[in-house]
Structures are given as structure tokens and as C-alpha cells.
């Protein structure tokens, strides 16, 4: 089976990373921002997994990516809970419209 060049995986992860960044910066809806964050996590995981290919005995990369996935899941849960609270409070999930009571 042909080896996938490491550079190509790294490039893919770079592109996904920057797409995640773009989503985080440009999107107004909090949930989409969360999606962007998930994309960034995945890009990072991709790198870890790619390098762990060269570490068959220890598989440190894969282990790390496992924990990353766990933390990401926890983060997503908490973040969505926060989004829901925010929505309940402000009647919107639009980040631009969320302003404190004094500045309204």
C-alpha cells in the first residue's frame, strides 16, 4: 500500500485549521463558531494521528488525540449549554447582538 506523504496530511490539516479560524472569526452565530472550534480540534488531531504513524510502539499521538476528543466533547457540551443559557437570557444567539444590559 502506498504511503501517504506526511506533507500532504499536514497541508490538509493546515487548510482545515485555517477554515476553522475563518469560521470562528467571521460567523455571527455562536453555534457556527463552535463548529469552527471543532474543526480546529480535528485539524490538530489529524496532525497527532499522522505523526503517531511513526511511533508504532508507544502510539503517543493516538493517545493524545483520544484525550483531545474527550476534552472536545466535554467542551462542546458545556459550550452548548452556555449557548442555550445565553439564548434564553438574550433571546438571541447572535454574538454581535449580545451586549450587556447597560450598553443596550
Amino acid at each position: 500500500m502506498q504511503q501517504i506523504p506526511l506533507e500532504h496530511i499536514l497541508l490538509l490539516s493546515a487548510v482545515l485549521f485555517s477554515l476553522g479560524i475563518l469560521a470562528v472569526i467571521t460567523k455571527r452565530h455562536a453555534v457556527v463558531v463552535l463548529m469552527g472550534i471543532e474543526l480546529i480540534f480535528n485539524a490538530a488531531n489529524l496532525n497527532l494521528v499522522a505523526f503517531s504513524r511513526h511511533d508504532p510502539q508507544l502510539l503517543q499521538g493516538q493517545m493524545f488525540s483520544l484525550f483531545v476528543i474527550v476534552v472536545a466533547a466535554a467542551e462542546a457540551a458545556v459550550a452548548l449549554a452556555i449557548v442555550l443559557r445565553v439564548y434564553q437570557h438574550f433571546k438571541t444567539a447572535n454574538l454581535s447582538e449580545i451586549v450587556s444590559e447597560e450598553n443596550k
Binding site: 506533507e7 477554515l19 457556527v32 476528543i69 439564548y87
Partner: protein, 170 residues
């Protein structure tokens, strides 16, 4: 060859997620991206990770996100839209990041790293899967992080439940 198809799929659907203004489309395109990445994990001999990806992300996080979308929108007969802000800055920064990363990746000459040279590529070896290795690792070398991760998950679960609860005045 399969890798490039998955890579293209991931990039296109990721880009679509960023570009579309419809939240549901964005969620589903993220689903495709995550699936593609799972496929790439498989190609990278990380079957356990790929499965975890599928279960946690596609089965958990994404469902959470879809629920979040539905719960945080008051629209009934119309698509949920999200407008863009900071397009210039965002594009600039993202573009710079991708250019910078690509430049460094291409310039780094990763293949000449000594430990990549010396280590063998055959991950699986005689085994069919990495599950056994990972299981041993988790119970031996990574037992403390494993326990801490479980504690973290518990705390996150309680915290999320607590935060999301509608706190009625009792």
C-alpha cells in the same frame, strides 16, 4: 488515492461550512468533514481513533450541535441564517495562516527528521488492530490521564446539565 478523495471532501465541505449562511447546511457539511477525517484516520492506521471520531463527533457532538441550532433559533418556517462579520480580517488572518503553515510545512523538510527516518512505518505489525495496544497503554502508562479525563467528563456533564437547566425560582 483514497486519501486525496477524503482530503478533497473534507476541504470542500469545510469550506462550504464556512461559506454558507444556512446553519443546518453548515452542520451537515461539518458532518461530512468529520466523516472524511475519520476515513483519513483509518488510512493512517488509527482505527480506534477513527471509531472514536465517529462515535464522539458524529454521534455526540454533532447531535448536540444540531440540538443547539434548533433550540437557539426562533424560526419556524424559514431556514436559520447566520450573517458574516469581519470578513476582511477573517479572510486575511486565515489566508495568512494557511500560507504561513504551508510555507513552513514545505520548507521544513519533515522527511529528513532523524526519528522519522529511523522508525519503521509499519504501525500495525503483526496485529490486526491498535485497540489492544491502546487498551494496554490506557491501563498502564496513561492511567492517570484516563482517570482525570473521566473526572473531567463527569464535571462537564454536571456543569452542562446545571447550566442548561432553566433556573426557576423555587
Amino acid at each position: 488515492m483514497l486519501f486525496y478523495i477524503f482530503a478533497l471532501l473534507a476541504i470542500v465541505s469545510g469550506a462550504y461550512m464556512v461559506l454558507t449562511r444556512n446553519l443546518l447546511y453548515a452542520g451537515f457539511s461539518l458532518l461530512i468533514t468529520l466523516l472524511s477525517i475519520a476515513g483519513i484516520y483509518v488510512l493512517l492506521f488509527a482505527d480506534f481513533i477513527a471509531v472514536t471520531q465517529l462515535m464522539v463527533y458524529v454521534g455526540g457532538v454533532l447531535v448536540l450541535i444540531l440540538f443547539g441550532i434548533m433550540l437557539s433559533s426562533r424560526v419556524h418556517d424559514k431556514s436559520v441564517m447566520s450573517e458574516n462579520v469581519n470578513t476582511v480580517w477573517g479572510t486575511l488572518v486565515a489566508g495568512l495562516i494557511v500560507v504561513g503553515l504551508s510555507y513552513s510545512i514545505l520548507k521544513a523538510n519533515i522527511n529528513s527528521l532523524p526519528w522519522l527516518q529511523t522508525t519503521e512505518i509499519d504501525v500495525l505489525g503483526n496485529q490486526k488492530s491498535t485497540v489492544q495496544t491502546i487498551g494496554i497503554k490506557l491501563m498502564t502508562d496513561f492511567v492517570l490521564p484516563f482517570e482525570i479525563a473521566s473526572l473531567l467528563l463527569l464535571i462537564a456533564l454536571m456543569g452542562a446539565a446545571y447550566i442548561a437547566t432553566d433556573k426557576q425560582k423555587v
